[in-house]
């Protein structure tokens, strides 16, 4: 399976994602933001980091990069596009997924493990996973998901919420919400479920010496689903 990770000026989880994808069997290529064309890929990843220093608004300048037109076309034709953290911010800024990401409720960067609950497995990312609650890692300043009431209704009607913040038992109460995001939303899909944006970093949880191994389960499952 082939994947491609886009490097924007200021991306800093691009290498980590490259390492993770290769570890679980993808043949990954790094793509420069100023390129016009994507290599032939089964999965495109917009990695975490601080593209353009998070200046103006997180993800906004990167969403206008040259390569993004190709990414948008790829997504519109049904290709799998995943945005992690800053990648999620770029996805919302480019309109590939609905909503926006505000500053964390307590106005502080948060780096810690959280639990997330997978709500909907009827999609290429989570299909066949045999558990619902995952321990993943977050590291962000702007992960506070927000959208209008109309958008929220549409998102919920279409089953577009990918993951919710929860506790280790899968309870999605406000007290398990690290950043104030609406309805504890930690990640969402586009309507067609081929585009996934999420704040947690599965690539930081890929061996037992790191913060945990639930990221490994995610990547192993993902490549099997794509095959």
């Amino acid at each position: 399976m082939k994947s491609a990770v886009i490097t924007f000026p200021g991306s800093n989880c691009d290498r980590d994602m490259h390492v993770a994808l290769n570890k679980f069997g993808f043949k990954n290529k790094m793509v420069w933001h100023n390129d016009n064309e994507l290599p032939k890929s089964d999965l495109i990843v917009l990695p975490g980091g601080f593209s353009y220093g998070d200046y103006l608004r997180c993800g906004s300048m990167a969403s206008k990069s040259k390569i993004m037109q190709s990414v948008i076309n790829f997504a519109k034709s049904g290709g799998l596009v995943m945005g992690i953290c800053n990648g999620f911010q770029i996805l919302v800024e480019s309109g590939l997924v609905p909503g926006i990401l505000l500053r964390n409720k307590y106005l502080e960067f948060i780096c810690k493990n959280v639990f997330v609950k997978i709500d909907n497995k009827d999609n290429p990312y989570f299909k066949n996973l045999d558990k619902e609650v995952f321990e993943l890692h977050i590291a962000h300043n702007e992960g506070n998901y927000f959208c209008t009431n109309d958008q929220l209704k549409e998102i919920q009607d279409n089953n577009q919420v990918a993951i919710y913040y929860c506790n280790d038992n899968g309870k999605t109460e406000e007290k398990f919400n690290p950043n104030g995001s609406l309805k504890n939303i930690a990640g969402i899909f586009n309507k067609e479920k081929n585009v996934l944006g999420m704040m947690p970093h599965p690539e930081r949880m890929i061996d037992k010496s790191l913060s945990g191994e639930d990221g490994s389960l995610f990547f192993k499952n993902l490549i099997n689903n794509i095959k």
Partner: protein, 729 residues
């Protein structure tokens, strides 16, 4: 403007220094030249009060590739890999403008490391604030933490460990010391020594603005009530540009175009150009019209003294300009050929086709002032005689609550949760342990790093305190299973012009030197920050020691959390009941006098090496050194982290429970072992003549002291975890 003595004094120079400049030049300098002298001769850049004493530190060893004198120190970690590391202060700017001061401190130290060709792989910091009751403390702490996070997080370098303390002596002068470790191949290290004539001198990175002019001079003076007016001397950081600069520099360094490279840190273009030329015994010629400027009509004086951040100066091989420019264009960074190396041995500056300065480089470097300042020796204070009956009135549980929630002991999670400590995917020990540990990417090796200081001990007796900090660093590395290799030091003191402060400096340095020598733990880089002083009041002497060690197989790394019920807990090292200068004496008894705990370097080395052997023999399940707060504090933290309890009894010594549990004798560790290994462990300890106490047994949830006092894990947690977050919110 014609230069005279008063203008020189306004630049922070002394009368005699101005006279020396005129003598060396055989004429009166112009304003630009005077600015250059003031930048090169201030304390921050010239080390004029400290050089004499720093020379006495041990700086070489089998593993040392580069000692002090370069942008950072370099040590060998085998297999062709090397670690580049250094700690640096950004104290003065952080007090004036906490966010930018701390942020640019972090940016500056990372630049020092990647200038040498190394990719930064870990950041650490040591930050010290005034009393928690002081009105400025909360805002300063918040600003500094945001600044450190703001810069490091954006760069994508994990912040893996640190130290935070509160003491009223920092009320008017906080300390912000930032440390970075970088990874490089041994044969791809870059240095700042220029070589060859007519080689192009390249300016890359951000444009030059009017920020930070005289920053280094500001950092070489005491504070007074008008300190807020100095805000314009604080630089403004742009971590995004630095990230681009890092990637662009590493891309250029992969080839063979660079002869010498130097970042523009303190004293900006002035010190970077002069250092490269000086080390190469060359001259340098710069055309200041070519320097990319952010603002129009900047004068030569401003261009030379600006401390705008994220800039580098490079001496290139001839003919490599186009190749280099292409890389910097790709990363959207400024690139300009601004001069060349010459054989004149002068720095010659041109502006609008006129020569605006010409100074022999040796007058700025080798002929810079060096002072043998007067200093006063500190006597070892007399021991306090605390009456045994005194201890009876304390309930252990109440004292433990006070100690675990003390600002200098409590959990600092509120701080480190704001730092990205997991980016780069190799952090295997997070902040909150004895050392932070990162794997060497793609290998089985890991590097451990810690930063420590003990201002109270240094203040009570600088010689002992200096030794103690080095030993604490050594212990923190051993506690995670790392073999200590070398240190970097950041020496924070008051005014060297006061005999007491200078004495503290001289004796702390002597203590550091003695311990480093004995432990074979050399100093490879460092920085001195004097004038941490507001009017007449200086800070407690605060040398910060950054230690680095190697773990050959990262799977052998040790953490401090108790692992398994029924395992045994041993105390390694002898407990003598030394309470003077302990947290217990100072905060519970309110007794601030007396000597700090004694350092016995033989025991320190022997105990440490034996613990390391036990770890390498896979006999240790968890370990933690005993430091402030004594045995019970160390054990409590191991319970909290492991979510386990412990049952223990004070061994039958002729001392009270209080003395045994809260004393701060040195050279001690707590280790957890499996019962089946007890015999084996005992025999190794006995063979090496290491004193140990069989202390207790791990249980599921309560701490039971001497069969009578019970403290639940939840109580321990609430004592330890809430203070800082409650204070800040």
């Amino acid at each position: 403007m014609k230069v005279n003595e008063q203008i020189a004094i306004d630049h922070g120079l002394k009368k005699e220094e101005y006279k020396k400049i005129c003598d060396l030049l055989k004429r009166v300098p112009n304003l630009t030249e005077l600015g250059i002298f003031s930048a090169m001769w201030n304390e921050h850049c010239s080390y004029k009060s400290s050089r004499l004493h720093l020379k006495k530190l041990p700086t070489s060893g089998k593993k040392v590739i580069q000692g002090p004198g370069e942008n950072a120190g370099v040590i060998d970690i085998e297999d062709g890999d090397a670690i580049v590391f250094k700690i640096e202060s950004h104290n003065h700017p952080s007090f004036i403008e906490p966010y930018q001061g701390a942020a640019t401190g972090v940016g500056g130290i990372m630049r020092d490391v990647f200038t040498m060709g190394a990719r930064p792989i870990a950041n650490l910091n040591s930050i010290h604030f005034g009393s928690s009751q002081h009105k400025k403390t909360k805002n300063l702490l918040r600003g500094v933490v945001h600044g450190i996070g703001g810069y490091g997080n954006c760069m994508g370098v994990p912040t893996i460990a640190g130290q935070t303390s509160f003491d009223s002596s920092y009320n008017g002068n906080i300390l912000v010391n930032a440390m970075t470790l970088g990874l490089v191949k041994k044969n791809k290290i870059f240095y700042s020594k220029a070589a060859g004539l007519n080689k192009p001198v390249i300016y890359v990175g951000s444009k030059t603005g009017r920020d930070g002019i005289h920053g280094a001079s500001m950092a070489s003076a005491s504070f007074d009530e008008k300190i807020e007016e100095k805000k314009p001397t604080v630089q403004v950081g742009d971590p995004f540009t630095e990230k681009l600069l890092l990637e662009a520099c590493l891309e250029l360094m992969a080839g063979d175009s660079i002869i010498a490279i130097q970042d523009m840190g303190a004293a900006g273009l002035t010190s970077s150009s002069i250092e490269m030329a000086s080390k190469g015994n060359l001259g340098i010629e710069l055309n200041l019209n070519k320097v990319p400027c952010r603002e129009s009509k900047m004068t030569p004086y401003e261009i030379m003294l600006s401390e705008s951040q994220e800039r580098m100066l490079i001496v290139l091989e001839n003919g490599k300009e186009d190749l280099a420019k292409k890389i910097f264009d790709k990363w959207d960074l400024d690139f300009a050929v601004i001069g060349k190396t010459t054989n004149s041995k002068n720095i010659e500056l041109f502006y609008d086709e006129k020569q605006v300065a010409s100074i022999p480089i040796n007058t700025l470097v080798e002929n810079s002032p060096m002072y043998d300042r007067k200093w006063k020796k500190t006597k070892l204070p007399k021991k306090n005689l605390i009456k045994k009956e005194e201890f009876k009135k304390f309930k252990i549980k109440e004292v433990l609550n006070k100690i675990l929630s003390n600002p200098n002991v409590c959990s600092k999670e509120w701080i480190w949760q704001q730092y990205d400590h997991t980016v780069m995917g190799d952090t295997i020990q997070k902040p909150g342990g004895d050392s932070g540990v990162v794997r060497v990417h793609g290998t089985d090796k890991a590097v451990a790093a810690t930063v420590d200081s003990s201002a109270i001990y240094c203040w009570a007796h600088p010689l002992t305190g200096g030794k103690q900090v080095v030993c604490e660093s050594w212990r923190n590395l051993i506690s995670v299973g790392a073999t200590p290799i070398a240190i970097t030091n950041c020496l924070n003191f008051g005014s060297p012009e006061k005999e007491e402060n200078m004495g503290e400096f001289v004796e702390c340095v002597q203590g550091i030197g003695e311990a480093c020598e004995y432990l074979k733990f050399p100093v490879v880089s460092g920085n001195v920050s004097f004038y941490n002083q507001t009017k007449e009041i200086g800070i407690k002497p605060t040398p910060s020691i950054g230690g680095v060690g190697l773990i050959k197989d990262y799977k052998q790394m040790i953490t401090m959390d108790f692992k398994e019920i029924d395992n045994l807990v041993l105390i390694i090292g002898k407990t003598e009941g030394h309470l003077d200068q302990s947290l217990f004496a100072r905060n519970i008894l309110n007794e601030k006098n007396g000597p700090p705990p004694e350092i016995n370097l033989f025991n320190e080395k022997n105990n440490g090496e034996t613990v390391l052997q036990l770890i390498k023999d896979n006999l240790v399940r968890s370990a933690h050194d005993v430091s402030i707060g004594g045995i019970i504090t160390a054990v409590s933290k191991m319970c909290i982290k492991g979510n386990k309890g412990i049952e223990f009894n004070k061994p039958k010594y002729f001392m009270s429970d209080t003395e045994y549990l809260f004393s701060e004798d040195q050279g001690r560790y707590v280790i957890e072992i499996e019962p089946k290994n007890l015999k084996k462990v005992e025999s190794i300890l006995n063979k090496n003549s290491v004193h140990f106490d069989e202390f207790g047994k791990i249980t599921d949830k309560n701490m039971i002291i001497n069969g009578k006092t019970k403290v639940t894990i939840d109580e321990l947690k609430s004592y330890n975890t809430n203070w800082l977050s409650n204070y800040m919110n």
